[in-house]
Amino acid sequence: MKKSELADPFKSARQEKGYGKMNDQIDPVTMVLRLKDVRKTAHDWKKFTSGAVPGRIVVPSEVNIRDTRQIPFEVDPPMHGAYRSIIERWFKRPLEPEYEEKLSQQIQAIINEALAKETIEVVSEFSLPLQSRALTLLLNIPYEEAETWIGWGTHVFRSEGVALDASKANILYEYIDRQLEKASQNPGDDLYSVLLNSEVEGRKLTAEEAKGVMVLTFAGGRDTVINAVTNSIAYFAEHPEALQRLRNEPEIIGKAVEELIRYFSPLTHMGRVVTEDTQVCEHAVKADSRVSLCWASANRDESVFEDADKVVLDRKLNPHVGFGFGHHKCLGATHTRQMMKIFLKNLAEKVERIDILDLKENIEDLDEFKRKVGYDQISVSFKAR
């Protein structure tokens, strides 16, 4: 098996039953594994709520380490739509030419840095800085701020393993509180100020609500983007012909981005809380229990995707759910797609070859399933064209 491959641990459970079970702390989860079931469950917010106790829909659950509700992600319609409409346009800014140009400069610089080094550890020296620097554009704040976030390391928002680490999460919370305080005293044209100046249901957003949006902005796009970028580098290291193809046919880059997101599925799953006794794929689920929408499994559903376990760079019909599905679909998807497009374009233009020297896989433990989601570390060398 190639080092860059991500296996599909859900295959037999998906084919045989359509669901899996995992024990998450003392609050077990029924995982929905087929694409159609995932979509239906994501759509049915009345039976499968996101508006549960803050932290409970996340797997592993964060109920013991946070009280702040992430917005709009932990809110159901119609309130969800009211919040989302405040920020939707802001999160489309990556499509503006000026934004694209700045992002392009950042990404070219980081590829040049990688080319100048003999070897580079991709997670901490490439993907983390790339994600952090790009986030300054999304927040519309000075570039230098990225240094602070890079200093936090890759795991500041998450636990390692099952034990959740509240002190790590608090670094982020205290930081956001400070930034919001600064923005309220000196409003600017950054996302903090925009939020504090926004209205929902005819009143100003509270600092707690603004914090809920910011926590989501930081947490949602951290390890996911890092995984997408790192997995791409590993993939192109083992598939130089794919890099060559992007060089020859840059017009397929958009499709390649969608396909890599499908194949990598940087976020394995996301939970919901069941509001009434019901069922998922003919399996009974009880009110107040949890289900998860397993994007990673749905994206390998062989009844929908031909050659589901293969990367088909120019896959034409690709109804993947790598950015989620329905009203909660990923708010940062526009930013991520733009980043990945620019990244692939420049990688193809500047890099001749990537060699993997050493790696440690990041395996998620989902009880009956063990899923490789990316790498804890992977050292490579880049060769310029």
Binding site: R39, K255, V257, E258, N318, P319, H320, V321, G326, T334
Partner: protein
């Protein structure tokens, strides 16, 4: 060359012309309000949902299976629904009228 008329949800009527690519791409190039085409045309985001004028349905034909599955969960979908990314621009579509879904 095909002339395509879009009616947006705020009832603006815009007619544009194109020769190649998909109807979604044409709409995005011309900034048709309500058609985003986030996924670039691989049938994954359903942000290019249009309703084909009933009398023009024969020009497009019905949605394919993957498209129908995407539209199935859209409250606003009906038998005239198509995803514009799955409509290729060609002569057959000339003078078609598409209402942009909400």
């Amino acid at each position: 060359m095909a002339k395509i008329t879009f009616i947006t949800s705020d009832n603006e009527t815009i007619t544009v012309e194109g020769t190649s690519g998909s109807v979604m791409e044409l709409a995005v190039q011309h900034g048709i309000h309500g058609i985003d085409g986030d996924c670039g045309g691989v049938c994954s985001c359903a942000t290019c949902h249009v309703h084909v004028a009933q009398e023009h349905m024969h020009k497009t034909g019905a949605a394919n299976e993957i498209e129908r599955d995407m539209l199935e969960l859209d409250d606003d979908a009906d038998e005239y629904s198509r995803l514009a990314c799955q409509l290729q621009l060609d002569e057959a579509l000339d003078n078609i009228v598409l209402r942009v879904a909400k």
